[in-house]
């Protein structure tokens, strides 16, 4: 790994100052489970790494306010899957976060980091899209909200501007009854990156929201009904790579869509 300067700011102001000083060759470090891999491989060669975990007010809490579950940027996958409020309202997110890497990874990896990494295959992205997540972003200029559906721009690219920091993710607590689920396809049964993944939710009106990953340059959100699963999954644009071929991925989306819908309907009825 090539040397870099390491900063561990204690205030947001210091974070923003460091981001400005070292832009554009600066990286934010939270859980580090993706960043460290890229630092080692040399894909990222920053001058500076800003560790945000000890910033005053940096939240590792999951707080419910005004119909929204706010997941702090410091919340790890382990924290997330064990939170009763998440389990109650967002079962597909629990299913997805439970299979992100291994226990050791989930003990470090944050939900915010998973989306900032902007992997097309990120497991938490599909359920977050389905649940209408909104990303709360801060910078020297102030704060803003970015709907997750507008957050991903391409592999590894997000709508975050230079100097911006994700502080939390809002999950609107469903007001109407809905059932939701998550599915993925992997090459082996233990810890693996998704060959493709998918989440869906369905309400009593039969409206289906579905999102899938590793099937397009970004995780895609589509809507339709139980009768239009084929049309919905046909919007994918999968590629062939070492994890799977395009045709297989495309076919698996439909299989996962059916299965996820079946589970979702079961949950809706409960």
């Amino acid at each position: 790994m090539q040397p870099f300067a390491y900063f561990r700011p204690e205030s947001r102001g210091e974070v923003f100052a460091a981001l400005r000083e070292f832009a554009p060759d600066v990286r934010i470090l939270a859980g580090g489970t993706d960043l460290m891999v890229r630092l080692r491989s040399g894909r990222f060669r920053p001058n500076a790494v800003v560790d945000v975990k000890r910033v005053s007010g940096w939240s590792s809490q999951i707080v419910e306010t005004e119909g929204v579950l706010r997941v702090g940027a410091g919340v790890t996958m382990t924290d997330l899957v064990s939170a009763p409020s998440v389990q109650q309202h967002f079962p597909a997110l629990v299913e997805a976060a439970s299979v992100v890497g291994s226990v050791q990874i989930r003990n470090r990896a944050t939900l915010a980091g998973n989306i900032c990494n902007a992997s097309p295959a990120a497991d938490t992205a599909p359920p977050l899209l389905v649940y209408g997540a909104v990303v709360n972003v801060a910078s020297r200029a102030g704060e803003r909200q970015i709907p997750l559906s507008e957050f991903f721009l391409g592999p590894g690219r997000t709508a975050l501007a230079a100097g911006e920091l994700v502080e939390s993710i809002d999950l609107p607590i469903p007001v109407e009854a809905a059932g939701s689920a998550f599915q993925r396809i992997t090459r082996r049964r233990g810890v693996d990156l998704a060959t493709a993944n998918l989440s869906c939710s369905v309400n009593r009106a039969g409206e289906v929201r579905m999102a899938f990953g590793a099937a397009a340059p970004i995780p895609l959100l589509v809507t339709g009904t139980a009768a239009s699963l084929e049309e919905m999954t046909a919007q994918a644009r999968p590629i062939s790579d070492v994890r799977g071929g395009a045709a297989y991925r495309q076919a698996m989306l439909l299989v996962m869509a059916r299965r996820a819908l079946e589970v979702s309907l079961g949950r809706l009825r409960q």
Partner: protein
């Protein structure tokens, strides 16, 4: 009959027991020192520089920027070595110790940097600039066979390094009722020992010392000495216990280069390879097998006509031996009245393939066992029955002029079938498969052992075997405990240092328990003879403890009794392999799988292994070796493969995309059974074990998948995608 001391029992007390692993405590506490854990004072850290493709012509090397990095002590290229640059290798001296003029595989070192710290070495390596012209590589069996392809080694006439012809009878005129003919492929897979390779080389007053987790320290000593042009006596190898070997640590790779580097800088040099670099250093030969098998109407094999092309890498390594040995017994544990096996070792611009558990047999077994399954289907025979009809009886010769079947192999087959509940009706999407695997053992090899009975009655065993997880120390301790009638905690097994332990050919071919075991028994007998003579001389009885006896003999000066033992597998001039197979490693495997027909995902519900081991000197160790071997076999069956791009680079280089079985990938039920008829040539009738588990797993699982969802796939690995695709192809 002179008295034998300490009343050795006729019935073994320790052999046959599942004595706890010697060295286990060090391994659960972190005290065990593997190669990368050793700290040698004053050592420089080494980093290799490579080019970003398999085959390139080196135009110029610019090292100025790298040399300016603080702490850099040496930047070595081929120009800094004796000219012509020495070539070496275990089979042929064909691998230059560093690339000269042209690279032949991705990852081949072109420049070596030695620096005071790993950081400095890494930085300097990144600053070395190599100007090169990429040349078209040879990457496949087809390309290697094409006379129009570039030569991998330009002094040769073709990329066919060796071609073997084995056979008997007359295949061409044999009359068969049914002929099954197919192509089978087996992918490149890598050992993925959890310990990446690590080395230290240090000049010393006598010559040079090399620390390497090598399975065969004496081979390494010979190869390094040859490269240096030195007598072997000046080269000392210290081989710490490997953190997994599987053949990947068997044969020398970069040690000669490190030896030259250490001598040049006059200091110890240390290289710890990354897992990615290790992937680029060792792999199994991929293979394409064309099989044509004739059967009579009753399912008896009439002929086997096999053409097996193994894709080796850029240098021979031990590859030609892998090919000849595997193809020699490629017909498996079956009678074949007529056989013709043509096998080729092909060079390519890829990582040199080397020994890997099973030594070429899994590649052949995948084809031959699958052929039997297809024949059974065509002839309306049960897959167990067709094997029953072809397996030779105990003692029956099945390869002319070779040792015959050395076990009751039908017993293994029946036991596997019973254990997997072969005849019980299956649930939907479930299937069962069964297969046999047969591997020849060590031919023409030698093991020496010293057993030192110390003045206090404790003993040291000096053995050139390498304990890489198979538990050799434990088994040797058990043997000596019985032979000398002392407690295991009075015995220390010393391994790995060629200045201490006597010669041993190799820790390979499942040979150590048999050959080193026999050598140790011989050494113990030698001790006992001397003890008996001493007892006679001092007039002591058999019940006198060693300590008293030796005090009576040597007095206060102390002394000890040293026993030397040896065992060898006879060299037979003219034999295709240099000698007959000392024993056969025979394994029956049976699997029950459930396949998700929509996704192609396979769930191994049950895997049964039956291993004919003659005698398990330590049953738990044999079982864990078999289980581990079988799970490793599930790896190449279901998920493992190195994928290359058109530049010859590994696309899935690293743990992220080269998948091996995790704890969640093991069978829901895994049972290993041992057949112990005490009919092997080793101690207490033991045969070798530890490779069998993986020999024919692929065919058993493949057949089970076929039964579950009706697709016969002939290319490994059987990934979910491949199974799904086969189901789609069948439906359209």
């Amino acid at each position: 009959m002179p008295p034998v001391n300490n009343l050795k029992d006729d019935k073994p007390k320790w052999v046959g027991q599942s004595l706890g692993r010697v060295g286990a405590e060090d391994r659960v506490t972190g005290r065990q020192k593997y190669a990368a854990d050793l700290r040698i004072d004053n050592a420089l850290q080494v980093k290799f520089v490579t080019v970003d493709c398999a085959r390139a012509r080196i135009i110029a090397i610019h090292t100025e920027a790298a040399a300016a990095v603080e702490g850099v002590r040496c930047i070595l290229t081929s120009a800094d070595l004796p000219q012509p640059v020495p070539k070496c290798g275990p089979a042929y001296d064909d691998r230059p110790v560093i690339a000269v003029g042209e690279t032949r595989f991705h990852g081949e070192p072109v420049v070596v940097v030695a620096a005071e710290t790993e950081d400095a070495a890494e930085l300097a390596a990144s600053l070395v600039r190599i100007e090169y012209e990429e040349l078209p590589p040879v990457l496949t069996v087809e390309a290697a066979l094409d006379p129009g392809s570039p030569l991998v080694q330009d002094h040769l006439q073709s990329n066919v390094l060796t071609e073997n012809h084995f056979g008997w009878g007359d295949v061409d005129s044999a009359q068969a009722h049914c002929i099954v003919e197919n192509d089978y492929t087996f992918p490149m897979v890598t050992h993925f020992a959890i310990e990446p390779h690590a080395f230290i080389a240090a000049p010393d007053p006598d010559g040079i010392t090399i620390w390497s987790p090598i399975q065969h320290p004496y081979v390494l000593r010979r190869v390094v000495a040859t490269a240096l042009g030195w007598p072997v006596a000046r080269v000392r190898i210290i081989a710490p216990d490997p953190g997994g070997g599987f053949g990947g640590k068997g044969w020398p790779k970069v040690e000669p280069l490190l030896a030259f580097l250490a001598l040049r800088v006059g200091r110890p040099v240390r290289l710890v390879m990354s897992l990615e670099e290790t992937f680029q250093a060792v792999r199994r030969a991929s293979a394409k097998v064309h099989a044509r098998t004739g059967f009579d109407a009753d399912g008896r094999i009439v002929f086997q006509d096999l053409e097996a092309n193994f894709l080796l890498g850029a240098y021979a390594d031990i590859g030609p031996r892998v090919v000849s040995k595997a193809s020699y017994s490629a017909c498996g544990p079956y009678r074949a009245p007529h056989a013709r096996v043509v096998s080729r070792a092909l060079l390519s611009h890829t990582t040199p393939s080397t020994a890997f558990r099973g030594f070429g047999t899994p590649q052949a077994s995948w084809a031959v066992e699958s052929q039997l399954n297809e024949a059974a289907a065509r002839l309306g025979l049960d897959r167990v029955e067709i094997r029953r009809r072809n397996v030779p009886a105990k003692g029956e010769e099945f390869i002319p002029n070779e040792n015959g079947a050395d076990g009751n192999w039908i017993e293994s087959l029946e036991k596997a079938a019973a254990a997997v509940a072969w005849d019980v009706p299956l649930a939907p999407n479930r299937g069962r498969g069964i297969s046999l695997g047969l591997k020849s053992s060590s031919t023409a090899s030698a093991s020496f052992a010293l057993v030192r009975l110390h003045h206090d009655g404790s003993a040291s065993v000096l053995s050139g075997t390498s304990d890489m997880g198979q538990g050799a120390r434990t088994v040797f301790t058990q043997i000596v405990a019985d032979e000398l009638a002392i407690e295991p905690d009075q015995i220390v097994v010393v391994m790995g240092d060629t200045s201490v332990v006597p010669f041993d050919s190799s820790t390979s071919a499942s040979r150590s328990t048999v050959f080193m075991g026999n050598a140790i028994i011989a050494a113990c007998k030698h001790v006992q003879e001397q003890v008996a003579a001493i007892a006679l001389e001092v007039g002591a009885g058999a019940e006198v403890p060693y300590e008293e006896l030796l005090r009576a003999y040597y007095g206060s000066a102390r002394g000890e009794v040293i026993g030397l033992g040896s065992a060898r597998s006879a060299y037979v001039p003219g034999h295709p392999l240099g000698g007959k197979s000392a024993f056969w490693e025979m394994m029956a495997a049976a699997a029950e799988v459930e396949v998700d027909p929509e996704t192609g995902m396979v769930d191994i519900r049950k895997l049964v292994l039956v291993s004919d081991v003659g005698k398990a000197l330590n049953p738990m160790q044999v079982e864990t070796q078999d289980e581990g071997s079988a799970v490793m076999g599930l790896g190449h069956t279901l998920m493992e493969q190195l994928l290359l791009d058109s530049h010859g680079r590994i696309r899935n280089l690293g743990a992220l995309d080269y998948r091996i079985p995790t704890i969640e990938d093991i069978p829901a039920e895994l049972h290993s059974f041992l057949i112990e008829n005490e009919d092997g040539p080793g101690p207490s009738g033991a045969k070798g074990a530890g490779e069998g588990g993986l020999l024919s797993i692929a065919a058993a699982v493949g057949s089970a998948i076929n039964q579950a969802v009706g697709v016969a796939i002939r290319d490994l690995p059987l990934t979910p995608e491949r199974i799904w695709q086969a189901i789609q192809d069948r439906q359209t």
